[in-house]
Symmetry: C2
Subunit: 303 residues, 2 copies
C-alpha cells in the first residue's frame, strides 16, 4: 500500500523500484553532492574549537565553537571547561520550540576563576570581517544579505555589518537583561524554529554538529513560562564538558566542514532550493538560511 | 549573579525589580496583547475540527484541523477516527529537526472502510479562496506574499495561488512518492525549523495547538535515515485518537483563535517583529511567517 509507506522515501528506495528504462537520472541531493565532494573540499575543524558534552547515558553532543566570532566568550568557555566549574553542570531548561539550556542550575555559583566576568557584546562585526563571504543567492526574512564565510559559518547582514543567525542547533551564551552579556557558564541551543529576533541581542558561540538529539529530545519544562525544570530531579546531569584538544589524541573526535568557497558547496545550495527526485512535485526555488546548514562530517579515517 | 539567571527573563520579573521611577512602561509582548484582547476578538474553533491524540501517560496533543483547506483528506481523517482504525496507532518515526509521524507502523493494514483511497492533491488554492487574507507586512524567504485568513490560518502565496506553510507544529498527510497524496491514515507534524520546501508537495491538514511536547520531546529514531524507530519497542502507543465533537459535551475541550481581522492581531505582528522590554537591544524589524503563529487559547470558562 503505497500510502502506508513513510513520507520522504529515500531516493535510493525509488531507484531500486522498477522504473521505465527511460527514467531520467534523479537529481542528486545536497547530501549526495557533499558525500561525493573531493577531499580538498573538506577542511578540518580545530580540536580547540570542539566542545564535547558527555552525558551519563553515553550520549555526546559536539559543539563547534565559532572562535573568530566571539573570542572573549570562547576564551571564557575554554577556561571554564578546564577549571572543573562544569563538574556539576546540568541541563535545567528545555522550552519547546525554543531553547535547551545548561550550566549552573543553582544560579548561585561564583564564576570560574580567571574568566572575564563582563565580556564585550560580541554580537556583530563589519561585513567581511571573517573573510569574503560566499553570497547566498536566496532571500532571507530578516537580513538583506546573507552568505557563508570561508571558515564555514552562515552569516546574516546588510553589507555593512554581519552577524551569526540563530538557526536550529546554534549555541549561545545565556544572559540576564541588557546590557549584561553573560560569561559563557550557561549556554543554550536552539531546538525549534529559528528565533532570529535574538540575532544581535545575544552572543552566539557555536553550533551543535553532532549528537543534537541529546539536547533536543528531552522532556520540556514548565517553570516560569521559560521551560525551566521545576522539579530538580528532571535536570539532566552532564558527566563531562571538555575540549577535544584537551583529550589524548587517541580519544579526540575529528570533524570537517565543507568549504563554502567550493563549487560543490554552491551546488548543495541549489540542490536544497530546488529538490529533485520522485518525491517533490513543486521545487521551492528558495531556501531559508537556516535550511542551508554548512555540511559537516566526521573526518574519514586516514588510509 | 545576574549572568546566572536564565536568559529571556520575563517582563514581569523586570518590572518587579527596583527601577528608576522614570523608567518607561515596557512595550507589551504579543502574548500580553493577546491576553488583553476583548472577547469579541476571539473566535471559537469548531469541535468537529479538533482531533485529540490521547497518550497512555496522560498527555494529550490537540490538532486543529484546517477543514476548508483539505476537505477530502479531513473527511478521511474524521472517518478513520470514527472507524477504530487508529486503535493500534503508534508514533513510529521521530526525525530530529524534521518530523514526528504516527499511524500504522506495520504499513500493512488495509485502509479504513469508507475513505477516499486516492484523494485529490489538496496542496494549493486560488489566492483569497478562504476569505480576504490580512496581509503580513514582513518579508518571507519562500513566497512573495503571505497573510492570515479570517479563519485563522497563515497562508503563503503569490497573489494568484495560496497554500499552507510547513511551520513548526503544522500537521500533514504522510505519502509515498508523487503523485500519491496519502489517505490521512498516517500523519506527521513538524518538530524543527520549518521545512518550507515541502509546501505545495504534501497536503497539510492542521496544526498542533496544545500538547506539542508529547510529539516533539520523544527520542529520535535512527532507521533508514528517516528517524524510524527500528526497535518496535520504541514506538509510542496512542491510546485514543478522537474528534472533540464525538465526545460527550462535558468532556469536550474548547479552543479559540485570535481573529486575524482585528486590530489586536495586527498589533501582535508588530510586537513580534520589534520586541520591546529590557531584554532586547536590537529589534529585528522583521519576523518569519513561522514566528508569527496565530494565537490560540483554551476557551475561558463561561461566567
Amino acid at each position: 500500500m503505497s500510502m502506508l509507506l513513510p513520507i520522504f522515501a529515500l531516493l535510493a528506495a525509488a531507484q531500486t523500484a522498477a522504473s521505465p528504462p527511460s527514467a531520467p537520472t534523479p537529481k542528486p541531493t545536497a547530501a549526495q553532492l557533499a558525500a561525493a565532494a573531493p577531499a580538498a573540499a573538506w577542511a578540518a575543524i580545530d580540536p580547540k574549537d570542539l566542545l564535547l558534552l558527555d552525558f551519563a547515558d553515553g550520549q555526546r553532543s559536539v559543539i563547534w565553537l565559532a572562535a573568530e566570532f566571539a573570542p572573549a566568550h570562547i576564551a571564557n568557555i575554554r577556561t571554564i571547561a578546564r577549571s572543573g566549574w562544569w563538574g556539576d553542570a546540568t541541563v535545567y531548561r528545555v522550552q519547546d520550540n525554543y531553547v535547551t539550556q545548561w550550566g549552573d542550575a543553582s544560579e548561585k555559583k561564583p564564576p570560574a576563576a580567571g574568566i572575564d566576568r563582563h565580556p564585550p557584546a560580541e554580537y556583530e562585526w563589519a561585513w567581511g570581517a571573517h573573510g569574503r563571504a560566499v553570497a547566498n543567492p536566496y532571500r532571507d526574512a530578516y537580513a538583506p544579505r546573507t552568505g557563508f564565510t570561508p571558515s564555514g559559518w552562515a552569516v546574516a547582514g546588510d553589507g555593512k555589518a554581519q552577524w551569526l543567525p540563530h538557526c536550529y542547533g546554534m549555541v549561545g551564551v545565556a544572559r540576564d537583561l541588557a546590557p549584561d552579556t553573560g560569561t559563557g557558564g550557561d549556554l543554550y541551543t536552539v531546538i525549534g524554529h529559528a528565533p532570529r529576533h535574538l540575532d544581535r541581542n545575544i552572543a552566539l558561540v557555536g553550533r551543535v554538529i553532532d549528537g543534537m538529539a541529546a539536547l533536543s529530545a528531552l522532556p520540556r519544562g514548565n517553570g516560569g513560562g521559560l521551560g525551566l525544570y521545576e522539579d530538580a530531579k528532571m535536570r539532566v546531569p552532564i558527566k563531562r564538558i571538555v575540549l577535544a584538544a584537551d583529550l589524548p589524541p587517541s580519544e579526540r573526535p575529528a570533524y570537517q566542514y565543507l568549504r563554502p568557497d567550493t563549487p560543490v558547496f554552491a551546488a548543495t545550495l541549489e540542490a536544497r532550493a530546488n529538490r529533485g527526485g520522485p518525491f517533490f512535485t513543486v521545487p521551492a526555488g528558495a531556501a531559508d538560511l537556516c535550511n542551508l546548514p554548512v555540511p559537516v562530517r566526521k573526518a574519514p579515517a586516514p588510509r
